[in-house]
Amino acid sequence: MSETEKRISIKSSADIITARGVGREMAKQLGFNIVDQTKITTAISELTRNIVTYTGKGKVIIKKIHSDVDKKDGMAIICTDKGPGIESIELVLKAGYSTSNSLGLGLSGAKMLMDDFDIKSKPGEGTRVTIKKWLR
């Protein structure tokens, strides 16, 4: 596996810290400024916590990406789980919505902190969230 792609399995809250560290290190190496490093790391924290809270286990892939169209580099974080899935994506993306009293900032927070956000979920099958940040 290349140095520009890392996989971390997420099973407990200690794995959240590991994922944050890996994300921060890659963001730094790619040349993101300190504010973007912090935003990326915080978004990873929100998404991986969602995995631990709602599904118990899943995985996160953190990798370097490149856009041929815009000729720019960036970073993608892909979180997947085989949990219960999300019934109404629109609802959970509303800031403040939460089913487990976590302030409901998990998904909406990650969306606000990043440039691109994509979520695919099927009730009963699981959820995949992809977030991206581009170098300016």
Partner: protein, 119 residues
């Protein structure tokens, strides 16, 4: 990891020195609250200079500590929020009231507590 809770005059000072897991944060919350009761502290300062990430869970827990400490008679000030963390928190919690008093550093935090308690 046990985080020391120091007493200065009638205030407690807690310095978070490293990233903490959720369980460690919740244990710290419990320790702080029992210590406030034990020494009848009138103020609490939580120094988070060492934290380079404050996510919604950490933010909520800090807010919970402050609210509970208030019920026990102690005012809370969170000090040492890094500029990048502050920017992230504003974007993250744009619609959320964090309900926390903050100060730039320990000295200013103590000033705030002294003023609040005299009032």
């Amino acid at each position: 990891m046990d985080i020391p809770i120091l007493k200065i005059e009638n205030f407690l000072v807690v310095t978070i020195q490293a990233e903490m897991s959720d369980d460690e944060i919740l244990k710290l919350q419990k320790d702080i609250l029992s210590r406030i009761k034990e020494v009848s502290a009138s103020g609490l300062i939580i120094d988070i200079t060492a934290l380079d990430v404050v996510d919604s869970f950490m933010g909520r827990t800090l807010s919970n500590i402050a609210n509970t400490a208030d019920l026990l008679g102690a005012k809370t000030v969170v000090v040492g929020i890094r500029p990048a963390v502050a920017l992230t928190l504003v974007e993250l919690g744009i619609r959320i009231k964090w309900n926390l008093n903050t100060a730039l550093n320990l000295e200013k935090g103590i000033d705030i507590l002294k003023r609040r308690i005299e009032m």
